[in-house]
Each structure stands twice: as structure tokens, then as C-alpha cells.
Amino acid sequence: MARRYDSSTTTFSPEGRLHQVEYAIEAINNAGTCVGILAKDGVVMASEKRVTSGLLAPTKSSEKTYKLCQHAACNVAGLTADANILIDQARLRAGRYEYQYCEQIPIEQLVEHVCNYKQAYTQYGGLRPFGVAFLFAGYDAHHGFQLYQSDPSGNYSGWKATVIGANNQAGKSLLKNEYGSSSEEKEGEMKVEGAAEEIAMPDVNEALRLAVKVLNKTMDATATSPEKMELFVMSLKDGACVHKILNKDETQKVIDEVEAESSAAGDS
């Protein structure tokens, strides 16, 4: 039944669904996993690198993480070619805002702009939607560090921690259990009645370890190595944003720390 309504992006099905958009979202579930974690002093984005061939010559500094402007970056899950178009749009928007106001664009406005662009492809023109989901990491003076997720429908939401791409459900459930719970839990600590669980925001290093832990769970291979993942950190230094992609040694260090933690805890 759905077959009749799923070829055109701009037509609702009788059940009120846009099948093309849903299929686009499905496409991303086959893509390399990306984890985003908000820390109190920065944002961490970790992604699985799918190395297809040893013969590949690396042209860009990253295939997963892209700098949008001085205070924003994004991770991509999905069709890279589609992503390039949207990243161009985001960079243009950020630049034009700065041209107009001589100020950095607030992150949510940047995300909303990209998402509005994506939404147009679900409503006009008969063109297929973009097969891309983003994790946006950014900093602005109004709301500090922020993490946003967007999908092909043009929906976006702000997150403390989230996962997109392959096995994201497994990643999300791990985050749900472990984000915000400090590794040293005090015995018999009272939980305030009625209040949401006390979420203690991790710092950047804790967030890195948690991100690697999530990737360990979502990635197919049993052994994790620096070549298979990319760790990105955004933080502030002297009032300006710093974007950093960890090099091999730094990545190995985080992997080792996670390894040590899990063996110390006698992991299941």
C-alpha cells in the first residue's frame, strides 16, 4: 500500500507519513556512528571512520568533522556528497551573519538555517531529501556550549549527549545510563524527591572517555584502534573557541584510559 505513496517526496501517504523522508533517515542508520557529548567546559564529538581502502590518499583533514566557523563545527553521518552542499550552506550563513552584524551567529540560528534548507527538499520541487544527519557543536555567549542533532526531515533538537549512525540505539542506551553519573558515586547519597536525576556534567576528558566507550559498543570490530575513530574537541581558550582533532597518540591514550577503567570495574 505504501508503495504508491513513497516515490514522491512531496506527497503524504494516507497514514500521514512522508515515506521518502523516512527512507532517507533509514539511510543514515547504515552510516558510520557519530557520538556527541556536551561537557561543562566544551563539546566532544567522536566518529567511526570507515576506511574502505588502504590505497586512499587523505585529501582533507577529516572526513567526518567539518569546521563551519570559528565557533561551530559539525559531524556528518550519511551521504558525504549531500553533506558537502549543506556544509557550504552553513558556512555561508555563518559568514553572512557576521558580515551583517559584526558578531558571531548564535548556534541555534545556524542549525535552524541548515534545517530549513533541508526541509525545503521535503516540500518543494520533487527533489529527494538530503541523506545526511548532523551533529552540530558550537559555542555562543548566550547559551555557552551546545550540541544539536538534525536529520533529513529538517527537524533539530538540542542534546546533552546523543548518537547518530549505525547502532545508535545501543549507543543512546549506554549514554542514558552513564552520562552525568560521576565515576565515584557517594555511598547512600540522597536523591532529591521529585527532582530530575542529578546530572553532573562531565568535563571534556570524562566526555572523551565516555564517547570512546560508546564507540566501542557501536562499532563492529572487537578491538578499537586510533585509525578507526576520530575524536574532536571544542573548547574555549582565552575567550576564543579552539577546534581540536586528537592525533594518533592522544586518541590511543583515551582508548587506553577506557580500557583501564573497564578492566578495573570488572566489566560485563
Partner: protein, 201 residues
């Protein structure tokens, strides 16, 4: 010719403007308010033909209002507002210029400071401690040069403004009986005094 001037002090900005709306030999009105509130903590004092004065002020203030509505109540800083204004003047310059010279004054809670921006119809922009547009500059700048210093309080700033008005009434050819004075500080944009109530029809 309009008189528009402003003085920045510790924690705010004062904007002052004459209230006459005249052309050729005729005075249309003498209670015009040439200082438009742009946002809860900023205002634009404009000098120029009434058509452009009103058109430009309203255009800028409504665009800033849309910005706030679209962005969950987010307010642009004074610096951003001033650059936005300048950008609009610059874009219009080679098409159909706004013949307005303005002073934009605003207060930023994040810094606790007021700031004053001088803008002319060529879309030049400069951040200043005090400024004047029009003939007033020939009379008032020297007073401000002498009396302004860092860390003035509101009363001292108002005193400078009063001194300028007195000088103009004594030495400026044009008779400008009414002035409207507004204060922008942490409590928002407020009218301090006026010569003639703008609300009178």
C-alpha cells in the same frame, strides 16, 4: 536643521534631539519625537527629512523586533545593532539612500556599559563617547570635548546635555524651543524630559 546629540556615561547613554518638524518657511509640528526605541535597551536618534527619519527608524526597529521573535527572545548587542543599521544604510546608498544621520545608543547587560555609535547617511560608523549630528556639532562638540571624562554618572552627563542645549539656544541661528531627552540604562529606554509632549495630537 535638526539637532541630535548623545553622551555616554558610566552605565548608560543619553540621547537628545530637538522636536521641530519643519520645511522651508513652515513649521509642521514642534513636538516630534526623533528618538525611536529599537529594543528594550537601545534607541536611535535620527536627523534628516521627516520621511526618511520615520521610514528608517521604523524599518530598523521592526526588523529588530522580528529578530527577537524569531530567536526566542534573544536580543542583539548594541554593537550588532549598530552594524546592522550601518549595513542597511550601505545597501541603500547606491540604490536609494536614506538621508539620515543617526546616533544609536544602547546598554548591554553583559558588560554593564552603555555604548554610543555615530552613523551618517554615507553609512560611516564610529563608536564614540559623545557625538553630534548636524549644525549642533559646531556648537556642542567643544563643550563635550572639554567636559566629558571617563566614569561620569547620569547627573553629570545630563548636565553636559543641558549645557549644550543652553549654548544652542544662545548662539545657534535656528530657534529650537523644544528638546526631548532620553536615557538608556539597565532599566531600559526612558524619557527624561521633553519640551513638548510628543503624545499631544
Amino acid at each position: 536643521m535638526d539637532t541630535v546629540f548623545g553622551v555616554e556615561y558610566e552605565g548608560g547613554v543619553i540621547l537628545a534631539a530637538d522636536q521641530s518638524n519643519a520645511r522651508s518657511i513652515l513649521t509642521y509640528q514642534s513636538n516630534l519625537d526623533k528618538i525611536t526605541k529599537l529594543s528594550p535597551s537601545s534607541a536611535l536618534a535620527v536627523s534628516g527629512p521627516n520621511a526618511d527619519l520615520v521610514n528608517f527608524s521604523e524599518y530598523i526597529s521592526k526588523n529588530l523586533a522580528i529578530y527577537q521573535l524569531s530567536n526566542d527572545g534573544l536580543q542583539l548587542s548594541t554593537h550588532a545593532q549598530a552594524n546592522y543599521c550601518r549595513g542597511e544604510l550601505a545597501t541603500a546608498l547606491r540604490k536609494g539612500p536614506y538621508q539620515v544621520n543617526c546616533l544609536l545608543g544602547g546598554y548591554d547587560a553583559s558588560s554593564g556599559k552603555g555604548s554610543l555609535y555615530w552613523m551618517d547617511y554615507f553609512a560611516a560608523l564610529s563608536k564614540v563617547n559623545y557625538g553630534c549630528q548636524g549644525y549642533a556639532s559646531s556648537f556642542c562638540l567643544s563643550i563635550m570635548d572639554r567636559d566629558w571624562k571617563e566614569g561620569l554618572d547620569q547627573d553629570q552627563a545630563v548636565a553636559i546635555v543641558d549645557k549644550c542645549i543652553k549654548e544652542l539656544s544662545l548662539r545657534f541661528l535656528m530657534n529650537q524651543p523644544n528638546f526631548i531627552i532620553k536615557v538608556i540604562d539597565k532599566d531600559g529606554v526612558k524619557t527624561l524630559k521633553f519640551g513638548s509632549d510628543p503624545a499631544d495630537t
